[in-house]
Structure formats: C-alpha cells, structure tokens
Symmetry: C2
C-alpha cells in the first residue's frame, strides 16, 4: 500500500474478534516490519454495544451503526466477524465492497453463498476480498492455493474440513463410545457448539469445499454437491471398520474427472495406516493433487480464535503489502462454468451394514438383489445375534457405480426382514 | 509489475531447467491470467551449449556468456539453476542483484552460505530474491512462512527435509534390508544421486534448516548447527526401534528456547504412531509450532523437476504480481543476531546400542559409568550372541543432558570390551 498507516474497522467482537483486536494491538510493530505499513484499528462495532467485555476499548472507537464503517472516508479495511450468509454480515460486506473498502472475512457461509457476486464487485472496484479464515482456520490453504501452489493444475482436493465431526469420530474410535456420548464430550470440551447441526450433517464441510473448489478449478461456486453427515455412524461401524483395517472419517472431495466436476461430502472408510487416518481430534487436513507438484498436504487447527487470527492476519498482511489479487485467483471474466455430475455416476468399493431378522432365505434374497444390480460382493460377514433372532450382515463390495449401490440398498430396504435403515459407507482406496 | 511483458533468462538447463522451460512455454496464458503479466523467456544459457537436448530452443535465445544476462537491459528476471555455493552460480546471482535484476534460485547451498549478503543487495536495489525451490522442492514452506503463517511467532520448526535419506530409512524398515542395500535401491530408482554424500551426512538438511531458521526467527543465517547423518544406522537399530515402538527418521530441528537458538540435524526415534512416522519414502514434511496458529504441517514431494518447477513458478508469479518483499521477510536492518547454543545443553531420552565382548563385569562397569555421569537408565535389554561370545546391549535412558550422554559413551568406548563404536539415537518425545 502507498499509505503508511492503514485504518481498520473490526465488526463483530465475539471470541475471534476480541482475540484479533488484542493481537493487532500487541503486534503493530512486527506487522509494520513485515509489511512496511502500520495497521491502526480505528473503529469497532458489535451487536451489544454495552455488553461487558474483557477488552478495554475507548468509547470513541465504537461505531453505533456498524454500516457507518463502509462509508467512513478514513476506513481502508473492514474485517467482518459477524457470521451468517444473510442479514448484517451480508449487508456489511456488500456495502463495504461497493464503497471500495478492502474486506477480510471469516464467514464461510457468506462466501459459499454470495462469493461470486462479491468477487465481481471487489474486482470492479479494485479492492481485496480475502477469506483465508473462512476455510479451515489456521490451515493456510487459500493462500497456498493462490501463492505457493499457483503453478498447479489441480485435479483433486480432499480432506478433513471439520474439527467437530473429526473429534466425534476420533473419540468414538479411541474410547469405543457411542455417537451421543462422543458428542456430549465434545460439547463439554468446547469442541462442539450447543447446536452443532451444520458441523455434523456435512453442511459446514460443503461450504468450505465449494469455496476451495471454485478456487482450484478456476470456476464459479457450484451448489451441486452431494452431502452426507455422520449422524448415522454407530459404534458398531467404528468397530467393524477397525476389524477390516479402516478408520471412518468425514471427508470432503472436489475433483475434476474428464470435463466434469464432482463435489461430495460423506463419511468414508480410509486405510488405518494412511496419512488421513492419522489426522485425529479437532485437526483439519487438506490434500491437494496437482500438476506439477504432485500430492501436497497441509494440516493444522481448523477453528478457534488463535488459529483463525493467524489466518485473518495473513489476509491483512497481504492487503498491507498492496498485493491486490482477484478473490478467486483469476478475473471473473476468465472463470468458466464447469459441468457438474452426481456422485451416483462415480464408482466405489463400499461397506454396507444390514440389520436383519434372522429368518430363512434372507441371505439368498439379499445376494440376489446385489446380483440383479450388478454389484458384486467382495466380502460378506454375517454375525448372528440368536437371542434376538437378529443378525448383522456386513458386506464389502467391489467397485460399483454409486447409483447401483444405492438402488441395491433401496430394494433391500423394502423387505420385511430389514430392521433398520441400511448403512452405506464408501471406501477411499487411493490414500 | 507495471510491465505487461516480463523478460526472463533461465541459466542452467539440466532436468529442472528443461522442465521449467517447457512448463513456462506451455502455461504462458494461465500465468498471465493469474498475474496480469506475460512471462517471456528471452534467453537461456547452459554449460554445454552444443549438447543435444530434447528442447527445441531457437539459436538466438542462447547466451554464449551466461553473465551477459545480468547486464542485458531487456532482462527483468534471472532464474539460476546452476547449483553450488561458489563458482558460476555465485557469480551469476551476485551480478544479477547488483544489476537490479530479480533473481529466482533453487540453490540451497548458495542461499545457506551467502543468503544474508545477497538479501542485503536485493533489499538495497529493491529487487526480489526468491528461493522457494531451494527448500523442500514442492513443499511451499517459504511462501507459507512469508504469507499464510506471517502472523506467527515461531517457536520451533522441525521435520523431514531430505527425500533420499528418508527413502533409505523407510525401505530399510519396510524391507528389513541393510543401509547399503537400501542405498543401492535408491540409486536404481533415481532417488539418490551417484554421489549422495550430502544427502546422507545431513549437510543437505542443514542447508535447508539454516535458511528456514533465519526466516522463522527473524535472524541471520547461523552456521552453528549440530549435524549427524544416517550412515551409522544399521538394520539392527531399525529392528530395535520397531520392537520398542519407534521408527527412525533423519530430522532437522530449529527451535528457540529462552533467548537461544538451537539448530540440529540427527537421526531420531519417533513414535511409530506419530504423524512424522507416517511420512515415508521421498516425501518431505515440515512441522511449524507457532503462536497463534498452533501446530501446522506441510507435506509434499521434496525434489524432482516437477515439484521444483511448482516452487519456481510460485516465485515467478510473486514477482510478476509485483509483490516485492524482503528476502527474509523483514528488512536486514531489523534482523537481529540470536545467540546459539549447542545440542550438548539440551536434554534427551536416548537409545544407545553397545556391542560388547560378553565377559564378566561388563554390565556392572557400563552401569557404573552411566551412574557416574548421572545418566539414569530407563530400560536395558541385553541380547547375548553366545556363539561369538558377544552381546548387544540396548539402553533407553531417562531424559539426560546431551553432553553427559556423549561423555558416558566416550568413557565406555575406552574399554576393551567394546567391539564397535556405540550408537546413540535421540528420542523425540513431543510428536
């Protein structure tokens, strides 16, 4: 930047906003050394103006109307930490960019929903729209894609994008406890919010994946994504996975096959000895397959005020250094729509668990339905539970079209011998 | 950059130079889309001008004297791919920076030796000196430290910085073969050079570590570094490690403890289940401990033309975007000397293997020397080999001062019952 002092407004002073405020106040001198510009927090704003905070912010710094930051002539950069795809956050960011303010946001829902439109405004007005903190907190994936890995034609991105669900699955596996027990623990430890729905149903992963996908494949954000969460994973599946040499992870995948883009989020069997299986607890990890770089892995803490602040400051420093880049790496005019295709047309070896009444002819009927759908069985284990006259049937299939796998289960489900909704977990072989 | 076309000279056309040449020629349009500047290779030069190459480079592009690139008015960027800390590479880079040309280099030896001096000239002349490709090839560690992780106060960096030695250790462990067998394999597969000395004796790791260390701790390149290679690691140590729950990795560490910098390279016992143990073959991995980000891991291919080109293009794109930064992240005037201290003053739990004549009183004498040096023994296993009247004694020590560990071994070595030089491998506990 040509300016020697750059004025910042921080809007939203929750855990992250407060941490960031303190970090900037403490580190003005080192930021200046690295960027040649002094960052100066001129204004803050938050929902409850009079709420008691541990921060000691002078009264004159408080904006009563947060939107005033977008029109104030002295403000150069607005950091949006409100959250949510709509409402105040949306108003703030649109208004800021329209008024030629640089924007830094940690808001994945906003970028996943309105990112294309926002990027257009930012590009036209020659200001930055930075969102490193929106994707995997302290994992510097966005900047790596824009800088360190810029040379690469990306073929595939996948990984663990949600710490809460990874913590739940990890502790189910380590302590052999149920989903609900693991979730209760996670809440106690502060690793799950009181309403962790979007963390567990895959929506949070989907938002991050859509953003990364647009960036990797020089395309627009696509809503066409298959999403499955981890609610249906039971302790029994964790145990079965272990016996078969796997762990269960909630993974997100974005890959270009032929000319088509496939985006999917689902629990996945991964080889126990693979790298991704070693990523435990609240960690996030992103694996990039690119040419010429080959396979690259970036791993770190995906959430929390400290890692998120690391991401926000990397965005801030990039702006201070005057590094104005297209929000999605290339101009909007150069981004191209890519046709998407459904997970149904991909091929997976899969784990299937069927809970059945242990009556005659069940196995014959099940295997017939598999054969009819051309899904061939690689391994079958039937564990009877004679007390209850029930049995658990575990099937590992050969690679089969996902549509056929799903059709098979649908047809099997219609039979009276089925006690519970069948479980289907895809196996990732290429780890 | 303000220019729309930027002229490049590539000096050195070995595997990497040739790959890079082809990459740029093929990807001009996408580089332009990402940087708004067209990269144009104006000149090339290489040792043997008439050597047959698969590249079809027009005659007029060949410089007969490579140094002419540094004074040619049309050249903006010089990419140095000659290699070596002295001689032509040194001449080229010094001359280029003095003549206000941006420089990109893959030369770790040069940067580790002359990086401070070169950085000063680059800063004074307001040109870039970029060296992502000098450290861990396709692992974008330099740019991550300068961009994605810029917010962080780094406390410690460690990892696997050399693919050849990691391949040798991995295959010794997987195939239970000797060091020499593993090395022969590595050469056959192209993972080890015909003279792999600096890969195996730790020097290559040391060069990379020194560079990263200067960058992480805002200091100058320090030659004070403890270096041990892997030549003395035998199949027996690999087997012992496995029995005890460890793998052996050649690791580099740079850490600030108190006000002192500790730099060290040595084979290390790491927990079998740790992340770093899972990094196999020719992969490199860097683990950064920083505040506020926590622990960050970056993993990828550390060598070879393709990953190295990924790094070179990230440097090139950074220059094309006009992102002039201090080569070591802050101005030379702001870099501060940090006092270094020796590995001798650090504390390690260690694995020790003693090969002894199986005569009476040996164990008593050994344990006495340990006690005298205040090194306490956590575990001791004596495996006799009665045919030869020899025994192998394996000792795991409690955490002890490295100096005392070494003194203990020195004193033990003086005894006649010692057949071979004792083996000491430090154990990394904090993985």
């Amino acid at each position: 930047m040509k300016k020697k002092v750059v004025n910042i407004a921080i809007i939203g002073l929750g855990n992250i906003g407060s941490y960031l405020y303190r970090y900037i106040e403490k580190n003005i001198s080192i930021i200046k050394k690295k960027t040649n510009v002094t960052p100066n927090i001129l204004f803050v704003s938050a929902k409850n103006y009079k709420k008691k905070r541990s921060l000691n912010i002078p009264k004159k710094m408080w904006l009563k109307n947060y939107l005033d930051a977008t029109t104030n002539k002295n403000i150069d950069i607005i950091i949006e930490l409100i959250g949510g795809a709509e409402g105040p956050a949306k108003k703030l960011v649109f208004s800021a960019l329209k008024n030629k303010k640089h924007v830094i946001t940690a808001n994945k829902a906003l970028i996943a929903k309105h990112g294309d439109q926002l990027a257009k405004i930012a590009e036209n007005n020659k200001v930055n729209l930075e969102y490193e903190a929106a994707v995997c907190g302290g994992v510097p994936i966005i900047r790596s894609l824009k800088e360190g890995l810029i040379a690469n034609k990306i073929n595939r991105v996948h990984g663990i994008f949600n710490g809460t669900s990874n913590f739940v699955l990890s502790s189910m596996e380590k302590k052999l406890i149920s989903f609900n027990e693991a979730l209760t623990n996670a809440k106690k430890l502060g690793y799950a919010e009181s309403n962790p729905l979007s963390d567990l149903n895959g929506d949070d992963v989907a938002s991050k994946l859509k953003i990364i996908s647009a960036l990797c494949f020089n395309t627009f954000i696509s809503k066409d994504i298959n999403i499955e969460g981890i609610k249906n994973i039971s302790k029994r599946d964790i145990i079965n996975a272990n016996i078969l040499g796997y762990k269960i992870k909630l993974l997100g995948f974005a890959e270009k096959i032929g000319n088509k883009l496939y985006q999917r989020v689902h629990p996945t069997f991964v080889d126990k000895k693979s790298y991704i299986a070693s990523v435990e607890g609240v960690l996030n990890a992103v694996i990039i397959d690119g040419e010429p770089v080959g396979k690259n892995v970036i791993q770190g803490e995906g959430a929390g005020p400290a890692p998120t602040t690391s991401a926000l400051i990397s965005d801030l420093s990039s702006i201070l250094r005057g590094n104005i880049k297209y929000p999605f790496n290339i101009s909007n005019k150069e981004r191209r729509k890519i046709n998407t295709d459904s997970i149904f047309n991909l091929f997976f070896s899969s784990y299937i668990r069927l809970e059945v009444r242990d009556v005659q002819g069940v196995l014959s009927n099940i295997t017939k339905i598999f054969a009819k759908n051309k899904v061939s069985i690689k391994r079958l284990i039937q564990n009877p539970n004679k007390n209850k006259k029930q049995a658990s049937i575990i099937i590992i299939t050969h690679k089969s079209k996902d549509l056929l796998l799903n059709n098979t289960l649908k047809q099997i489900s219609k039979n009276k011998y089925i006690i519970k909704k069948p479980i289907l977990i895809r196996i990732e072989s290429g780890q």
